[in-house]
């Protein structure tokens, strides 16, 4: 098989693409390509990975313009004419080469009140939540998020408005709003309804299209819009 012509981003916010020639194999992932470059061609290349098997979300990068988990992206699926362009995840500051600074991603998670607000103590009995209740089903549809940032990289509004909380943070807020054990709902609705909150979502659905664990943040954000409207119209906001 002819070798791959791979362009890899080097540097920080300022930098350039560097070209490498990488042997192509049947059944090869983009992470395999990056690993080969760092081990055999240029040891100074910085990149993130951990599990290599599509469970941790660490290896998210921009591949030919699209945010993906590189360990779960087969070269066959994306290399047109044997070419690959690999860049750090979009919409985040670049630390070096393929590594992005995830701090603002998680800061927004906190700003959206994406953490559980409990009401019970250890002396209370367990909460009983039927798994097939309507609310719980909606929570379950969004609960598998591992904070990989692919949706955040895919989102047009994140690119256009640096204050936008983003799909992951809002999706997590939604799963908590629908969690009957959580007691912080009003605070959370206020947090997500602010200046660059759930209303800034224009349902482009890039997040839903790209999420590697098949969550639809668009659905959760639509739910938040409805809940916030109900609260506002009842004067609760």
């Amino acid at each position: 098989m002819s070798p791959l012509a791979v362009e890899v981003w080097r540097g920080g916010a300022q930098g350039a693409f560097q070209s490498f020639e990488v042997p192509r194999h049947p059944s090869q992932t983009v992470l395999d390509v990056v690993t080969y470059i760092q081990r055999s061609l240029d040891a100074t290349l910085a990149y993130r990975f951990a599990c290599r098997v599509g469970m941790c979300g660490s290896c998210a990068m921009t591949v030919n313009g699209i945010p993906r988990w590189t360990c779960r992206t087969h070269v066959d699926k994306v290399a047109r004419e044997n070419k690959l362009v690999i860049a750090p995840p979009r919409n985040l500051p670049v630390i070096r080469d393929l590594v992005a600074d995830m701090r603002e991603f998680f800061d927004k998670w906190a700003r959206a009140k994406g953490s559980f607000g409990g009401t019970q103590t250890r002396r209370d009995d367990f909460a009983r939540v039927p798994p097939d209740s309507a609310d719980r089903k909606q929570v379950d549809a969004g609960i598998e998020c591992i904070g990989c940032g692919v949706c955040y990289s895919a989102c047009d509004v994140v690119a256009w408005n640096p204050d936008y909380l983003g799909p992951a943070a809002l999706n997590r807020a939604w799963t908590l709003v629908k969690d009957e054990r959580d007691g912080a709902t009003i605070e959370r609705l206020r947090a997500v309804a602010g200046d660059a909150g759930c209303h800034a979502c224009h349902t482009h659905m890039s997040c839903t299209e790209r999420c590697p664990v098949r969550i639809s943040p668009t659905a959760g954000i639509a739910g938040l819009k409805r809940e916030v409207a109900k609260a506002a119209l009842r004067g609760k906001l």
Binding site: V157, W160, N161, L189, R190, A191, A193, G194, D195, G197, H199, A200, H202, K225, V228, A229, A231, A232, L233, L237
Partner: protein, 112 residues
């Protein structure tokens, strides 16, 4: 109260969208019908003049537009022009007023 304001703008936008969806469907059908065989002032006014039903319909249409268009532009101004601050919303309020005044003037000229 940002949350309150953003939420009410969203509600107003979706509500006006629903009203306008109905108005636009009627308007498109009407225009496609009326435009056959060409247009003239006399022909148009012959149909519209003194018509209370159409007067009401188009007044609602104008009101809907005066709410919907500025709120829509607001997102574009924030996201594509980076226009922050009160001046943006003042400009949009003025635009809303412009649409209302010019729209109602047209309605009165044609239907009253």
């Amino acid at each position: 109260m940002n949350a309150q304001r953003e939420t009410l703008l969203w509600v107003a936008q979706r509500a006006s969208a629903a009203v306008l969806a109905a108005c636009v469907l009627v308007h498109l059908a009407t225009i496609i019908y009326a435009v056959r065989g060409g247009l003239s002032a006399a022909e148009i006014l012959g149909r519209t003049h003194g018509n209370a039903a159409w007067l009401t319909f188009y007044s609602i249409f104008v009101l809907g537009v005066a709410v919907h268009a500025p709120i829509g532009l607001r997102s574009v101004f924030i996201e594509w022009l980076g226009w922050r601050g009160v001046s943006r919303d003042v400009a949009l309020l003025l635009f809303s007023f412009l649409l209302l005044v010019m729209g109602m003037r047209a309605v009165l000229v044609l239907f009253a």
